[in-house]
Subunit: 343 residues, 2 copies
């Protein structure tokens, strides 16, 4: 099969256009503000309500205000944004639809469970690579209260969670991308590896780290192989929400593939909360987990020169309550996006 030069190996894209991160923004709730990354938030609502009349509306408001803030930080207005890629965890993606409908931007709804920030960032970059837009926004959100209702039990049941369970982040992250022909210094999306769905047959939906780890292994190892890179190429290889349990599996399985990423690896789910003082069991999760960590902590540290090259690999568990109740496994997916500082 013939390939263009932009396509590397089996499944990696190499962007030839200057896809620059113009700005990013993130908001969270009380838990996220109290956590170690709290100071990277553009704002928070300690009630988690964001002026919504119900939790779904709260998440919609959260996502919209995050997008608006990112656009404002880019020095743009909403009218300058040509396309929006967004998605969330709720059935039929209503947090996003109701959140962004008033913005009047052509919308592409995307779904990759908690890997959604990777998918939206990747596809937004593809649109710029195709030279079909100049300014595009990639965003996603999750909310603890909507996710518990969607996937588990109403909050008032107060159900117990096993130690391998994760805590859904109340948060949203948005990134404004620009095809920057002037190539100003900044963070650029340079490559990306869209993920395949991996299913190792795990059915325990309370152990999503284990369900998603094989997908992260496949995407990271494919990315490194396709670009003939060693883990050391990156200052950080950042998974989304594998948590303690999933991260251990990731490191073990990647070693078996010949890649030791122990030194580079960081998991957003293990970083966003204080694992000593915040009772989140295996870590944070949800689309917002990787999105908030990227839009706040990761990009800020890149701007400050701490890290030059990051491989961002959010992971998603492709289940629903219906699939789980019918006894199905929990397949996973992970999309990798390479971010590099360029002078």
């Amino acid at each position: 099969m013939e390939h263009t030069k932009k396509k590397q190996g089996r499944q990696t894209f190499r962007f030839t256009q200057p896809v620059r991160v113009l700005s990013s923004a993130c908001f969270g709730g009380a838990m996220e503000q109290q956590g170690p990354l709290g100071r990277y938030l553009d704002g928070y609502d300690e009630t988690g309500k964001f002026d919504g009349e119900n939790w779904e509306e709260s998440e919609s408001h959260l996502q919209r205000q995050t997008i608006e803030k990112a656009v404002e930080k880019a020095g743009l207005t909403i009218k300058d944004v040509e396309n929006l890629f967004c998605g969330d965890l709720l059935r039929q993606m209503t947090a996003s639809s109701f959140g962004v409908k008033s913005l009047g931007i052509p919308v592409f709804g995307v779904y990759g469970a908690c890997s959604t920030m990777g998918e939206s960032l990747l596809l937004a970059s593809v649109l710029l690579e195709a030279e079909l837009a100049e300014h595009v926004v990639a965003a996603t959100s999750s909310h603890y209260a909507t996710a518990e209702k969607e996937f588990r039990f109403p909050l008032s049941y107060g159900n117990q969670r096993p130690p391998c369970a994760t805590w859904t982040v109340t948060g949203s992250g948005a990134v404004v991308l620009k095809r920057d022909k002037e190539q100003k210094p900044g963070v650029y999306v340079t490559a990306a590896t869209p993920g395949k769905i991996m299913d190792y047959g795990i059915t325990d939906k309370a152990n999503m780290g284990a369900c998603m780890a094989p997908a992260a292994v496949d995407t990271i190892s494919t990315h490194l192989k396709d670009l003939d890179r060693k883990p050391e190429y990156y200052d950080k290889i950042v998974t989304g929400d594998l948590g303690n349990v999933g991260s251990d599996i990731l490191l073990d399985l990647l070693k078996a593939e010949g890649y030791d990423i122990t030194k580079q690896h960081m998991d957003c789910g293990m970083t966003i909360y204080d694992q000593k003082f915040q009772d989140v069991h295996s870590g944070g999760s949800g689309c917002g987990c990787a999105a908030v960590t990227l839009a706040g902590y990761l990009l800020q540290n890149m701007r400050e020169g701490k890290w030059k090259k990051i491989l961002f690999v959010p992971t998603g568990a492709l289940l629903s309550t219906v699939s789980s109740n019918e006894g199905d496994t929990v397949p996973g997916i992970a999309h990798a996006v390479a971010l590099e500082w360029k002078e």
Copy 2:
């Protein structure tokens, strides 16, 4: 704001790469086989079960076999397909995830409710325009039994439907796109207009045609304005599943915008079933409605020379049972894709 030449007007993409429809396939259930488009199906299962143990698995099998058939008809193998864009109506998109996971193709999950075939086709074309792939598949599915369970009542309740309600198509359509540098004669994706979310405040989820019509109006009029085209440019302007009620609204509102598309307009929902002899009330609906009509009837008639130019505009209603139960409106979205025969 600066625009590349590929971007026309406010929001229309013009593809400069040869994005050719290499093949298409569609499968349906008994209702679809008995309907006027039955002879365009590649196959059907009159039980609707497609060897599934439950309806969700049935839809997954249906979507996978449609993709496999389309790839086979293209003279390719699954390994030749570099990327897959797919989605469906079920919560967390499980019909697609479980359907395609065994194919081993990097997957982009997309959600635009019943406009999903438009979104998947549009984004697959963008990927080819970016020269990041040579062969991409766009697909979607819906299933009467899973959709009734997801959005309405269990089938065994036998609930009554109002005359403006539509019947969810059991069906899947898949299209294989190729960046055809040889530019062989065939159907090409030449332009596309991604849609904005439109909300006219309608809350009647049994009248989805009315909810979606404003989005179709906005996308079609924007497309024609952006490209400075009259409706006569197209042999057919094809909406997805507006049905009888929504189609009347579409024609009226477009006339108010200065566009009379009465002669060109066709609605997949009004075409896929026999409105005299099949009791579907306002017509067919679901992601599969536009997808089956495109992959079967529309593309076959283009191949046979009956139509040279089609504007395909599937429409989606962005609701969930939760948003409806909370009293929310039903916003709509429509994505337009221009298909043209080239010698």
